[in-house]
């Protein structure tokens, strides 16, 4: 019985240390940073996935259009409370020729989730967009 308890104790301690090292059990919330590089959009809409906006509900964002062969792109910062219905919070503008860079400094209050969203117009054959979003914990 004593040996069993010892083994269980060792497993528990190892698991605790493992989760703390991963930044998930140490009490420090992981910074809700999402980075997607070199997204290639050849279609009408490109979602980058979403981030949780953190306890402050504010995110800074940077979007670079590094290549655009044909057509043009509209870029948006969108937000959602339920991860289903998405609403535009920031319209970055239209990019007709690369390079284009847009920055949002996190000055507005968002809902629980945020994402960067790109709409391609005119069927661009190749568009390369770098996207970074950073939400303080």
């Amino acid at each position: 019985m004593r040996r069993t308890l010892s083994i269980l104790g060792i497993i528990a301690v190892a698991c605790f240390i493992g989760s703390a090292r991963a930044g998930t059990g140490s009490g420090d919330a992981p910074r809700a940073t999402f980075v997607e590089l070199d997204l290639q959009a050849e279609f009408g809409g490109a979602s980058t996935g979403r981030v949780v906006t953190g306890s402050q509900g504010r995110c800074a964002a940077r979007l670079n259009v590094t290549a655009l062969a044909i057509g043009n792109l509209d870029s948006f910062l969108q937000t959602s409370s339920d991860d289903v219905n998405w609403y535009t919070a920031v319209s970055f503008g239209n990019c007709a020729a690369a390079p284009c860079s847009y920055t949002h400094l996190g000055t507005i209050q968002l809902l629980r989730y945020a994402r960067l969203f790109v709409v391609a117009n005119g069927s661009p054959s190749l568009a390369t967009v770098d996207m970074i979003m950073d939400c303080p914990p």
């Binding site: 069993t4 083994i7 269980l8 497993i11 528990a12 698991c15 493992g18 989760s19 991963a22 930044g23 998930t24 059990g25 919330a29 992981p30 809700a32 981030v51 949780v52 906006t53 953190g54 306890s55 402050q56 509900g57 504010r58 937000t79 409370s81 339920d82 219905n85 609403y87 919070a89 507005i108 209050q109 968002l110 809902l111 629980r112």
Partner: protein
């Protein structure tokens, strides 16, 4: 002196406990990766609220100590009546009884979205109110409010 029977009981028990630990950690890690663990974000989510009433209110959100909020009202369908329209306001209250207008928007006469991304309120309770014009037979709305520190 341990018997063989005791060993046969102890080993499966140990394995079951180990599996339970791994499963619990996996769930915890998934919540942490999603970023939703440990966050207390007061939220109002009331979707597909259909009405023909001349006026009304959404559910009430208790924002607690959180006063920086984002709010969205999305009119998804509007039909019937004569030149129908819907006007939305965010209202706030210190006690859930007395309500005061915090924001107001121009009327929606077709599907539309009204957003508030700079809403700062210092009262505890929040809700949407709406008023219709032109007596629509149906107005369907999604309401969302999330509040942060």
């Amino acid at each position: 002196m341990r018997t063989t029977k005791q060993k046969y009981i102890r080993i499966p028990l140990l394995l079951a406990l180990l599996a339970g630990l791994v499963w619990a950690l996996a769930l915890y890690d998934r919540a942490a990766a999603d970023g939703t663990s440990g966050l207390n974000i007061p939220s109002l989510e009331q979707t597909a609220l259909s009405t023909s009433a001349a006026s009304g209110t959404s559910n009430v959100l208790d924002a607690g100590e959180n006063g920086s909020c984002a709010a969205v009202a999305e009119l998804t369908a509007l039909s019937g009546g004569s030149s129908p329209g819907v006007t939305y306001k965010v209202q706030t209250s210190p006690n859930g009884t007395n309500w005061y207008d915090a924001t107001s928007h121009a009327a929606c006469t077709a599907a539309c979205v009204k957003t508030e991304y700079t809403l700062r309120v210092y009262m505890r309770y929040l809700r949407f109110s709406w008023a219709t014009t032109g007596t629509p037979s149906t107005a369907t709305t999604n309401f969302y409010i999330n509040c942060f520190r």
